[in-house]
């Protein structure tokens, strides 16, 4: 059963009642909410995600609701609840859906230490996975959205999860787009399903793009890493790939890892093994079409 199979009322009832157990790859989240934006966001962006029954094991129990405290009447707010506790400060009510997405990223990066988690996008083509680590603002999400529009499978737009054997663990969820990249992707891909734009968030204007159904269907297939590319969007830049020394790529991964320190010695070995088996590049681009072509060639050439 998938989320789209739930008729309108049933979806609302589930969210207001026992919660909706949504499978995002290896992680099952039980979501509860009384807010219409959450119901709408789930119906739109998680339509193809598998729905688990109430007696299935949920890894995390979250809720997105107005805070229970007195401030409710001052200015409408929304709170993210992690099993009844409150890890974040509340946000304006219209940021409910982004807050759910940010909250889910936090759940995984703060708890799933069975994996080494990097702040990176991961896409895959022909059995080879491409890792795009980058600090916020480097255009990683735009590039990621552009590549999946051109047929790459989405594993994640934010969290690269590496298991003990060095394989990448998918967790396909809505791709978050910011500011200018929202329109860029709208123009680049007519079929892209982009939700409402929320303004004035801490990250600027934010919208989410539904992940391709095929990516969601293959969410249980781990992928072998083959390419590590550090992207940088630069106005006027022709799409250029420059080989990057593996030691430098390694340090970049360390810098973008959520739980490197926690993994101690084995984290060092795991990341070293990862860069050892990948081809590493720096990449500059402006035009998404050009970028997609470069990557398609790169994927083909990795035989």
């Amino acid at each position: 059963m998938i989320v789209a199979d739930l008729a309108g009322d049933a979806l609302h009832d589930a969210l207001k009642g026992p919660g909706m157990r949504v499978r995002t790859g290896s992680v099952v989240v039980c979501v509860r909410s009384s807010l219409p934006q959450i119901a709408a966001g789930l119906a739109l962006h998680y339509a193809n995600h598998a729905l688990e029954p109430d007696d299935a094991f949920a890894d995390f129990h979250v809720a997105v609701d107005p805070p229970t405290s007195m401030r409710r009447w001052l200015r409408p707010q929304v709170q993210f609840y992690f099993d009844g506790q409150v890890p974040f400060r509340p946000l304006p009510l219209d940021q409910a859906f982004p807050m759910l997405e940010w909250g889910l990223n936090w759940c995984v990066s703060a708890h799933c230490h069975q994996y080494l988690a990097l702040h990176a996008a991961v896409v895959e083509r022909d059995g080879r996975a491409l890792l795009l680590p980058a600090p916020p603002g480097s255009g990683k999400s735009t590039l990621c959205a552009g590549l999946i529009a051109r047929g790459w499978r989405l594993l994640s737009d934010e969290l690269a999860l590496i298991d003990a054997s060095g394989m990448l663990v998918p967790m396909p969820r809505p791709v978050s787009l910011k500011n200018a990249s929202i329109d860029v992707i709208r123009r680049f891909d007519e079929r892209a399903m982009i939700g409402p734009v929320i303004h004035d968030t801490i990250k600027g204007s934010v919208a989410h793009m539904t992940p391709p159904a095929e990516s969601v269907r293959r969410a249980m297939m781990r992928a072998a890493p083959a390419l590590i590319v550090l992207p940088r969007y630069r106005a006027g830049a022709a799409a250029t790939l420059v080989p990057l020394g593996k030691a430098q790529a390694f340090m970049e991964l360390v810098r973008n890892a959520f739980n490197y320190h926690i993994h101690g010695e084995s984290g060092f070995e795991l990341l070293a093994d990862l860069v050892q088996r990948c081809r590493c590049y720096e990449f500059e681009y402006q035009d998404l079409d050009e970028a997609a072509q470069v990557f398609n060639r790169l994927a083909g050439a990795s035989a």
């Binding site: 020394g245 030691a247 360390v254 010695e265 070995e269 070293a272």
Partner: protein, 86 residues
Amino acid sequence: MPVPQRRVLDGELVVRDRSSGATHLLSQVSGTILVLLIESESSMRAADIAHVLGVTAPTDEPVTLSEIDRILLELERIGLVARVPA
């Protein structure tokens, strides 16, 4: 002190200090000096290091003693080597 974790990637050395967890990318020369100290299993004087480098890892421009001193100081600062009394 425990021997740091290390890997050579594309000819460069990355090391991890086992007690603090701090991870570093060392330059070619720094990496060579560190590995030299690790493999010698006893302390070495800067002059000896210079000699061994000159013999085993000659470069176009020989590494000066003052540069070796500078590198050793930096390695000490980040906790990868320690000075022992003569």
